[in-house]
Structure formats: structure tokens, C-alpha cells
Symmetry: C2
Subunit: 333 residues, 2 copies
DNA sequence: ATCGCACATCTAAGCGTTTACATACCACTG
DNA sequence: CAGTGGTATGTAAACGCTTAGATGTGCGAT
């Protein structure tokens, strides 16, 4: 009676509802789930990196925070809930068990970044629909949403070379395990190749933590002056922040002596001195879209697989060499 | 057989387990919850502020992020899960409905900051155990964990006055609706009163967003030079960041002309120029402790009410006037 | 006065597990 | 050979809710 259009006198219904409210009664969701065959919960899985030198900030949430907001907002509207779990990357077996257990508590799963092996993913996807956020586009068992890493990287390189005449670029790459890092890396190589004057003078294999930015800079500063790059392209903002800090303590002026650009547009970047020029990912939108797709797939499991890249945006601040007046955002192709 | 010590031949058990694994079978949690009367899920409620001028960063998660990590880690160990919801502060009735619905999906609730009216809280607490994080210590229907705002504020003021000889303080307060903001405000007044030479030259009623810091500074700069304060004590880091930014664009040197201290120790503070001196809340610990207590109360609902303040720490960086070499953390009483 | 219809109320099955208990089996011992 | 104890297997109830369908009631029409 409470839910459906049971044929009861309106006055009766009102009275019942009133008593329900007075008693503070709320139907038990487990029982409802049983009969409805739907839990009205979706899960969000992120990594909590446990590598010894990973910044706290990098661990798990921060990256995913905006995504989470988008998801939560979408879910809130239909009164579903969000279950979140941070998987430790130092224990794949444990992570898999954890994921299995969680898959029993939700109607669908959102998984951030390629943190789950393809086989494990396949097994989980057999139980509940899965949508990957910033995952590998090749994953056959899930829908995938990501950002257009190539266009973003291209825009950053283009700006550095064409607008600021920087030609000796250096790359601080992300961990090869991350699909996004791989795409940014190859896009950078292509973009450099596309500009006749520009060269890639070196590359540092980082792991997305600020410390890797610092280490990379030390490596750069160990070179003789004339072999140094004039711009550093980082695979994320964390590393860019680490790099800038290390450059400044070494007395290298940013951006005068060395331009630095990041990727992600995390909040802290705008607070830096100089403010960080970076490629913005529309994280919140990513969350909303991925969530919408997941809900759709929960309703109709047979939907064809869907892969989508959302546009990135070059956010011009000052670490690239632009002045305060030139700040702005450029939509990439 | 799968869980309990059913007396089956070990070989049989092994074979069954193997098939289970092969099929990827995972028992449905809703059914398990029914019979066990336990969902193995706890909920975390945070506010998502919808006031028009609230910084994105301030909304909900960022503040609670470390707490969330602590909670998640504690929960992960016992294989429970975390349900999170961001309540919009512009719709109390909707928030209450949402909270009720969520209370049906969890075994207990962690609620951040006094975002829920006491009556609503009482009704929810009647259904599931509730622990408040950074909530009002007076709340009769829940355990409460918070930070020692008084000691933290006292330490900050003491440092400013005794170490740096600042005597003309200015307060940028948080919203009176937040219990933490109220405590910091009264503690500031007490601390100033406790230092004979020091006076509180003014106070701005902010709302925890960076913009309120900027507005406060404009108000200060509108005063004649000699009536200006020489130090600003902010009720959180966001506002301190806004204040510093506004001071710097107005050409006021920080900390030389004006010292600024914050509260919270959010990550971005360390990245600022000058790095922000602030009072650190042990957020992660707060999360762990609150979570531990909640689990305990779920096991034994009749436990007596518990209120606890965790110690704050004065994190000395440079915005107070200290040099880079003097950085460090001071445990407050 | 009786029938039938619309409308209100009551009943019971079933969702996927766990668990307590009953039943069946086997080998051993008296 | 029957009785017994230890094990293995099978059965059914219960968890809290929804919902379809059975049952019951009151009214107007015949």
C-alpha cells in the first residue's frame, strides 16, 4: 500500500503515513532488495597507492574526488547510494576478494583507472555491470569513459612551442601501468614529432607522485647547462608541483628559465606560485556520464559496449610563461 | 557449510570451494543481511555546501577526505563497506529524507559536522547508532569526536603574540552554525584576553569559503593604516588562503606586514607562498577513532555516550613570520 | 430481495541465505 | 547381530518486505 497504487481511501492512506512518520519507521533495505532484486546502491572503486614514496594527496581519493561528486549528485537524484572502497595496490589478491565482496552489495560498479587486472575484471563484470573511469579503452568487459589525453597533451605542447617558442622539451611520465599515463606519453612523442623545431631532450619515468617530479628535476639539473630543456611536460599536476618546488629551491626561475605544465587541474595548482598551467580533465562530468551509463546498463544489461573520451581543456595560467592577464581556458579538439 | 564448521570431509569442502570459485559465485549480501541482521556497511554523511559563493574545494569532501581515509582503512580490515552521501545544505527536509533512507542501508552512521538538526538526529539515532565527527559535543543522541579547538586556537594565538610580538589581531570566523567555528571563536577571544598586550581589533563573519577571506581583507584594508591589525587568525585554511591572496594582490606583504594563520592543515596550505602556518587536525585519526567507536556501539548498543577531543597540533610554516628553518609541528596541550 | 460489481481488506508466497534439526549412513563394539 | 556413536546429508524455518490474488463488504440495479 505504501508504494504502489493500492486502492485505499485517501484518508486512510494519510493516517497510515502519519503513523509511519511518527514511529520513524523506514523499511529495511535488505528486505526490499531481496524482493525487488535491486539494491539501489552502486560501488565506486579507487586505488589507494601504497608505494612508499607516494604523496598522501595522490593516494586514491584526491584524484577521484570530483568524479565522486558527479556520481554522488547523479545518484542522489534518484535516491540511490554510493558505496566506496579504496583498494590497496600492494595486494592484488586482497583487492580482488574485496571487490568480489563489494560486488555482492551493489547493482553496478564504477572502477577508477586500470587498477584491476583484465581477468579479474571479467569475473566481476559477469556478476554486475562495470563501467571504467579513466580506464583502458581496450577493456572488453566494461564500458569505458576517459578524457581525451591525446588532444590535451597536443594542446599543451602546441602552446609551449608555438606561443612560447620552447623547443627543448622534457617529459615526466606517469606509471606505465596507468592507461592514461601511457596515452599521454605516446601523445607527447607524437606532438613533439609534429613540430619540426621541437625535440624531446629526455624523459623521466615517474609514478604520479610529487617526489617523482623532484627526482626528475634533480636528474635534469645534473646535466650541463646547455643540455638542459627549456620546458617540462608532466603527466599530472602532482609531479609538476614537485618539479616546480625542486626547480625553485635550486634557484631556477619558473617559467623564465624553465616552463612547466601539468595535467589534471587539481585545485592546488591554481594556488601555486606561479599558478600552474595544466590540462583540465572534466572530472565531474566524467563521473556523471559514467554513472548515467552504469544506471542505463543496470536497467538494460544487454546494451552494446560503449567507449567515450571527453574533451580536455588547456588551462593557461603562468607556469608556461604566460602573464597573469593571459589566463584562460582553451577547449581542445 | 561454507562459513561454519560444518562437519564435511576436507576433500569435499575443497571441491565445493573450487566450484564456487570457478563459477564466481558470491553470496548475495541482501540475503545475508536478512538472516544475520547485519549489513556490514556503515554510512558517512557529509555536507555539500550550496551557498552561492562557496568554493568548490570547500564543498563536502575535501574537508572530510582524510577522515574518510581513516574510516575506510578501518572498515577494510574487517571487510565492511562504506556508504557515503553528500547532503545539500540548502534543503534540510530533503537531507533528512535522504538520511532516513540511508539509515536503512547501514548498521551505523558517521555524521560530519553539525549538519543535522538535533531532532532529526534523535530520530535517526533511534534506528541506528550514530557517531558525530566534529559535531556538537552537547548532542545527547550520539557519541562525538572532535579536535581540541580551544587548545589549537590558544597555541596559534600564543605563537603569534609571544614569538612574533603581534598584538593587534583580527579574526575571520566561520559560520556560527558549525560547532567547530563557534568553539574556535570563543577560544580566540579567551586567548586574546589571556595575553595582556594583545587586542582583537575586529572580526569578520565568514562562512569557511576562500571568498570570505578575501572579503574580510577588503574590510581590513578599508581602514586607515594605523588601525589595521598585524595578524589575522582564520577559522580555517580556506579563508586564510583567500585572505593571503587578497593581501598580496593589494601589495601587503605576508607575513612581514601581516601574519596569517589558518586552521585544518589542508594539503594546499603547504604549497602556498608563503607556506601557511596552521593548526592541524588529526583527521585521519579522527576517522579511525570515530569508526572504531561506531563499530563498538553497533556490537553493544547500550554503551554509555562518549565524547572525545583529539589533540590539535600547531604546524609552523612561514605565514606567521617564521623562517623556512623554523618550520615544525608543536603538539598542543 | 437478490445479484453483481466496485472497492476495501486480508493472506500467503517468495526473494537468497543461514542454521538448527532431523534423518540417513557407516563402521565399530559388545 | 544389534546397538551405538560419529558423520554425512537433507529439510525447513526464519529474516522483513512486496505483491498478486483470495476474501470480504456495501451499494445500486434488477
Amino acid at each position: 500500500m505504501v508504494h504502489g497504487q493500492d486502492r485505499v481511501r485517501p484518508s486512510t492512506r494519510a493516517r497510515v503515513l502519519e503513523v509511519i512518520e511518527a514511529l520513524g519507521y523506514v523499511p529495511d533495505s535488505a528486505a526490499q532488495s531481496m524482493v525487488r532484486q535491486r539494491k539501489e546502491v552502486i560501488g565506486l572503486l579507487a586505488v589507494e597507492s601504497r608505494s612508499p614514496d607516494t604523496d598522501v594527496e595522490q593516494q586514491g581519493l584526491l584524484f577521484i574526488e570530483e568524479v565522486l561528486r558527479g556520481v554522488e549528485a547523479s545518484l542522489g537524484e534518484i535516491e540511490w547510494s554510493l558505496l566506496i572502497a579504496l583498494l590497496r595496490d600492494d595486494d592484488p589478491a586482497g583487492a580482488y576478494r574485496r571487490m568480489q565482496k563489494i560486488s555482492a552489495k551493489v547493482d553496478g560498479l564504477l572502477i577508477a583507472e586500470g587498477i584491476v587486472s583484465s581477468e579479474h575484471l571479467a569475473r566481476v563484470a559477469a556478476r554486475v555491470p562495470v563501467v571504467l573511469v579513466a580506464g583502458s579503452p581496450g577493456e572488453p568487459h566494461a564500458d569505458v569513459f576517459g578524457v581525451d589525453n591525446r588532444a590535451g597533451t597536443r594542446a599543451a605542447v602546441g602552446h609551449l612551442v608555438e606561443r612560447h617558442g620552447r623547443t627543448r622539451l622534457f617529459e615526466i611520465a606517469g606509471p606505465p601501468a596507468a592507461p592514461d599515463a601511457r596515452e599521454r606519453r605516446s601523445a607527447l612523442e607524437e606532438a613533439v614529432a609534429a613540430h619540426p623545431g621541437a625535440t624531446l631532450t629526455g624523459s623521466f619515468q615517474g609514478w604520479f607522485a610529487a617526489l617523482s617530479g623532484q627526482l626528475a628535476v634533480r636528474e635534469i639539473l645534473a646535466r650541463p647547462q646547455r643540455e638542459r630543456p627549456d620546458a617540462i611536460v608532466c603527466a599530472n599536476d602532482q609531479m609538476a608541483i614537485g618539479a616546480i618546488r625542486e626547480l625553485q629551491t635550486a634557484g631556477v626561475r619558473v617559467p623564465a628559465d624553465m616552463a612547466v605544465v601539468g595535467f589534471d587541474d587539481m585545485h592546488a595548482g591554481a594556488l601555486l606560485n606561479p599558478p600552474l598551467t595544466t590540462v583540465r580533465q572534466p572530472m565531474r562530468l566524467l563521473g556523471e556520464r559514467a554513472c548515467a551509463r552504469l544506471l542505463q546498463r543496470i536497467a538494460q544489461p544487454a546494451l552494446p559496449r560503449h567507449v567515450e573520451r571527453l574533451p580536455a581543456e588547456l588551462v593557461i595560467r603562468e607556469s608556461c610563461g604566460c602573464g597573469p592577464g593571459e589566463a584562460g581556458a582553451v577547449r581542445t579538439a
